[in-house]
Amino acid sequence: MNFLQARRNPSLRIGAAIVALVLLCAVFAPLLTPRDPYLQNLDNILQPPNAAHLLGTDLYGRDVLSRLIYGTRSSLAVAMLASTIAVLSGLLIGLIAGFSGGIVDRILMRIVDVLLGFPRLFILLLALGFGYPSIWFIVIVLALFSWMEIARIVRGQVRVVREMLYVKAAQALGLSNAKIVRKYILPNVIGPVIVAAAMLIASMLIVESSLSFLGLGIQPPEASWGTILNQGRQYPVAAWWLSTFAGIMIVVTVLGFHLLGDGLRNYLDPKTRGQQAEK
């Protein structure tokens, strides 16, 4: 990535900075946490922010800052893993449907239509009600009901790009279908997919937090932003710091992924990139 071009793109700069910061928190959580996030101290419960506990303590006297930092790991892991699986599946199915056309396209798109007809949160709650909500189970269930939008976007884009003259020229040159898809179609449909993927991570973060908030996501004593929010629900005023800081983390991270997606879309479009370089 050309640093000078990235500098001229404020969405990309701010989004990347927020996401990088959150990712660093997740990776280096053991080094960054001032205290053990699982260590209970019943003499020290629901302490407001102070010098010893910068973001206060929770119902069991655990340090909220440490739990928020550790919560980054589980919340982000679930959102990013589920999004990656959903994006790759959607990309593959969208490419096959869009490039093949005909009966293959019709069958795949009817499957997408049927799955889109199900209310996602309801299905998630139902599925999680049946199984033990481990991180992998949540990831698989989230991914299973989230690839359809990506598949639709990709399929629509592929159908447009497939008719472009440069694709016809590549076909006339005798290039294989695999090469045409990889070099001529995929790079020209990937922009909207990257934006959709960034938005999907943001939406997965919210879904994961909602599930944990409802007690169906990551289970205590494991830290996640949703479980911290859940604790704050019981004392919205008396222990305002619980909901507030977890809420801020969710909002800022979601915003970061939105900005990153938007910035990447501009950066990855050679036409926009050219205009930015001229400024």
Binding site: A169, K183, N188, P270
Partner: protein, 265 residues
Amino acid sequence: MKAKLVEIRDLTIRYRPKDGPGFRKRSVFEAVRAVSFEIFKGETLALVGESGSGKTSVAMALLGFTEPAQGSIFYDAMDIRSLAGSQMQKYRRSVQPVFQDSANTLNPRMTVGAMMEDSLWPLHDRVSRRKRIAELFDAVGLDDRIYRRYSHQLSGGQKQRVALARALAPRPELLVLDEPFSAQDASIQINLIQLLRNIKTTFGCSYLLISHDLHLVKFLADRIAIMKSGEIVETGNCIDIFLRPVHPYTQLLLKRKATEFPEST
């Protein structure tokens, strides 16, 4: 007498709207009706007619992008519908298109160099590919410096030359030139005509030149076929068409051109 390279017999192309209510009877549009012509080795045949007369549909069928409803296309005496696998690949590389829309004909995500390298994929040696690209750039009058540029960094004329260089890369026997001049200004049109003449001499390929502009066609064509509403109404050599047009539609086209380009008649 020259050998036939392409022979098109009774070609009919119909289009059916792809999307629509499943049970409703959909109307079929006949874009090309029983068109027959041949292209001889080394000649330039111009297909001339107004927009919507079916010229591009014929070209797309010849390139294998449109399935004919009826009729046959023979290339070197082989029916192209009987070709498959490596034979089809060989046929595709022998007949190369240069499209009208130069902005849309180059992949916006690839550099000129990468596109040219792709067009020479049967050459496995990178050095040989680079050498051939330099020869092709030289043949179409392009500077080596555009190798790393993207299509949006090129002028209209440069894009058209890159498209031409890419089409020439597989050493085709036939170039299908679909309105190659229409998006260019007059000075670029003159340069392109000269360039296409030189290329024909150097590479010895045949041209199927599709145009609505009789004025430009006469500088390149050996024979002209006039198309109207999906049918060929008149075919003849360039001089006969210009001096002794038979069909009223050809006379009308010439009259119109004579008014627009009085110096050319």
